[in-house]
């Protein structure tokens, strides 16, 4: 084992796990550096200020986090976990948890997660996406569903009530689109990828009643997918420039810079939109659950224990301790204090008086309401990234005009899905 990933755990730590003693009171004895591969998160950056706390808790181990943006992080974790296994802890997400779990690249989390850290306190939706094949694989660092976020001032000026249905939403987007005044009706994601354009398209697909597979037979190539794509392409006519090949950053950037009237995005957008430090439209923002029949895109990102770098049980236990500490109530309370809305995952924190004091009762209510329509929109399979990314390319071609026949694109995806299923057997 290399110096960097040398993790020596003591019997005392094993006792700690088995007896469930208070983790703060009894220090485990890990050593070396726990290497973490993650994507940039304010909550993880904040953790680095408390390295000494973890060192004390673990009995001497430190940690080092390497950051890569989402797409690069996905590629690098896959490459590392399947080859050399340099990292003790991986940041994984709902889209690839099935792949990581079925390939044996990560360990079942609950086998090494100290009970005192109360995993059950995490938001039930996030627990659901962290679970595959009946086992929990990661502890959430971010997650949630979707919210429709809108500019109250623009809607009021146009005499439009916040839309409750998709038809109302489409009509409002068209009416609010005023490019000559630098305001665009909406901002979507056009960039290819299962976590990019496909992610935003799926609420339409599932909302119209679409399904990916029936057993091992693809069934997505139907009228629901065609209608979803037509609606998505229709809305793209009113989407901010740059979003045609942009992802989350471009859509959110266009909204927070005041150039978009309304959009449906993942819940962390609200935290950014109402924060004057990151938004020009703070104070003018309203939020509601997505208009019916759209489903919210349930998602969750979190920390998982790598199998290759943690060769023995003691190393896995140390990595488990790090994951538990990093996602603990104490650290979430620090994130709340630091205004990191998108990094909050625990029910106890989101229902705390401090949360209500900081964000008001409206946001809490909106989150509770959107939870009712939040769903797992993607195909929960190790092959999902492959299928989702392929549809992402076809969808981007449709958005940018390289192709125009929706049915032909879906037929191509259908053939690809059949090959994919055959290859996996």
């Amino acid at each position: 084992m290399t110096k960097a990933k040398t993790l020596v755990s003591s019997i005392a730590f094993a006792c700690l796990l088995s007896t469930g003693l208070t983790t703060v009171a009894v220090a485990a004895e890990c050593s070396g550096t726990i290497k973490v591969l993650a994507q940039p998160r304010d909550g993880l950056t904040l953790l680095e200020d408390y390295k000494s706390e973890f060192e004390k808790l673990s009995g001497g181990a430190s940690f080092e986090i390497d950051y890569l943006n989402e797409n690069d992080r996905r590629a690098k974790t896959k490459a590392d976990a399947s080859t050399i296994g340099k990292y003790n802890v991986y940041y994984i997400d709902e889209a690839n948890v099935a792949l990581f779990a079925s390939a044996g690249w990560v360990a079942p989390l609950m086998d090494y997660y100290p009970a005192d850290y109360d995993y059950a306190d995490f938001d039930p939706g996030r627990q659901k996406v962290a679970t595959y094949d009946g086992k929990v694989w990661f502890a959430p660092v971010t997650g949630g569903g979707d919210l429709m976020v809108y500019r109250k001032d623009l809607l009021e000026a146009a005499g439009i009530a916040p839309p409750k249905t998709l038809d109302e939403y489409v009509a409002a987007v068209k009416k609010l689109n005023q490019p000559d005044q630098g305001i665009y009706g909406t901002a979507l994601r056009g960039q290819r990828g299962s976590g990019a354009n496909v992610w935003r398209w799926m609420p339409f697909f599932k909302g119209f009643g679409g399904n990916w597979f029936d057993g091992k037979t693809p069934v997505f190539d139907g009228e629901q997918a065609v209608k979803a794509t037509e609606t998505y392409l229709e809305l793209f006519k009113y989407s901010a420039p740059g979003s045609q090949t942009g992802g989350w950053d471009e859509a959110v950037g266009a909204f927070t810079s005041g150039q978009v009237a309304m959009l449906i995005e993942s819940t962390p957008l609200v935290g950014m939109a109402i924060d004057p430090k990151s938004s020009k439209v703070a104070g003018k923002v309203g939020y509601l659950p997505p208009p019916a029949p759209l489903t919210g895109g349930g998602y969750g990102h979190g920390l998982a224990i790598g199998m290759k770098a943690n060769k023995d049980e003691a190393s896995k236990a140390c990595a488990g301790l790090f994951v538990a500490w990093a996602t603990s109530k104490e650290n979430e309370a620090r994130r709340l204090e630091a205004g990191q809305f998108s990094e909050l995952n625990r029910t106890s924190i989101m229902t705390s008086p401090k949360f209500a004091e900081l964000y008001g009762p409206d946001l809490g209510q909106a989150l509770a309401d959107t939870g009712k329509v939040t769903a797992v929109n993607f195909w929960q399979s190790p092959q999902w990234p492959d299928l989702g990314d392929r549809w992402g390319i076809i969808l981007e071609e449709l958005i940018t005009g390289t192709r125009s026949d929706i049915k032909e694109g879906l037929d191509e995806l259908d053939g690809f899905a059949k090959d994919l299923v055959a290859r996996s057997q």
């Binding site: 590629a75 150039q259 492959d386 990314d389 071609e397």
Partner: protein, 286 residues
């Protein structure tokens, strides 16, 4: 005498040995796994013969990637040399030696910038809403200009950044080459009333034929490694409009499928194609 003759071998053997290990082992391994059906999530693959190679030729993304790669090579190599020669001559003709040195220093800056940094800077510069490069168009027409989202302009826009980095650098090299040429042929041509363009077309450039061919080869090899620029600026999009062969191989290997055998078969074909093409061009040039 025999001691004298063995000295080069003594010095060369370790270096060649290391080179052989570093170059041949991965190459041999890539060829080996290209005949398997290995995937990252299933490392226990089996031999499938030429199945991956056969599949490639019915894969529309692969066919598209060949076209994009060839276009990329032709555009970036051609434009870089054109800019380099044009700008080099312009500097040599119109600018004083002192100013030339100052400009040469400035022209070196783009190529010193790390490729990824340059790609991010230009990606932001081309942003339709906030980009400085698209601002004049927006100010004049009132319409945003989204060059990187348009399949017709995306590849040319990325190529522009490549040419900006390498064209200016090569212009400095051409300038310095022109400065090293003997003045007599130029003076003789002027006495014969040759026009300026004739002097360069028929005297200077033929005299620089060998170094210019070397520059072309350097750029051809460099253009094959444009992965980082394209990855940052377009990720192969919109759709697959800027997806080169290396980009597609990486996507298949690590981003989308984890099909490392399939990706390796692409890499092997690329290796064979480039080896043949470069050997052919090299022999033609000689």
């Amino acid at each position: 005498m025999s001691q004298k003759n063995s000295l080069p071998a003594v010095f060369l053997t370790p270096a060649m040995g290391i080179l052989a290990v570093l170059a041949l082992v991965p190459t041999a391994y890539a060829i080996y796994i290209s005949f398997q059906n290995r995937e990252l999530s299933r490392p226990d693959g089996s031999l499938v013969g030429f199945a991956n190679y056969i599949d490639l030729f019915s894969d529309r993304r692969f066919i598209n990637a060949i076209g994009v790669s060839l276009t990329w090579e032709a555009v970036t190599v051609g434009m870089t040399l054109l800019i380099a020669v044009g700008l080099g001559i312009l500097l040599f003709e119109c600018v004083s030696p002192r100013t030339r040195n100052l400009l040469a220093l400035l022209f070196l800056v783009p190529v010193i910038l790390p490729r990824v940094s340059a790609a991010f800077v230009w990606k932001f510069a081309f942003h339709p809403l906030y980009g400085i490069a698209t601002y004049p168009y927006k100010a004049i027409t009132g319409q945003p200009l989204d060059l990187l989202s348009n399949p017709a302009t995306a590849l040319a826009t990325v190529a522009l950044v490549d040419v900006w980095q390498w064209g200016l650098f090569f212009a400095v090299i051409v300038l310095k080459l022109l400065e090293t040429l003997p003045p007599q042929p130029f003076e003789a041509a002027k006495l014969d009333h040759a026009r300026t363009w004739e002097i360069y077309a028929f005297i200077a450039l033929p005299m620089l034929k060998a170094p210019l061919i070397s520059l072309a080869f350097v750029k051809m090899i460099e253009s094959l490694r444009a992965f980082d620029l394209i990855y940052v600026m377009t990720r192969g999009g919109p759709g697959i409009a800027t997806e080169t062969l290396d980009m597609y191989a990486f996507s298949q290997g690590f981003i989308e499928s984890g099909r490392i055998s399939y990706a390796s078969s692409m890499a092997v074909l690329m290796m064979i194609a480039t080896s043949i093409a470069f050997t052919f061009i090299w022999k033609r040039v000689q």
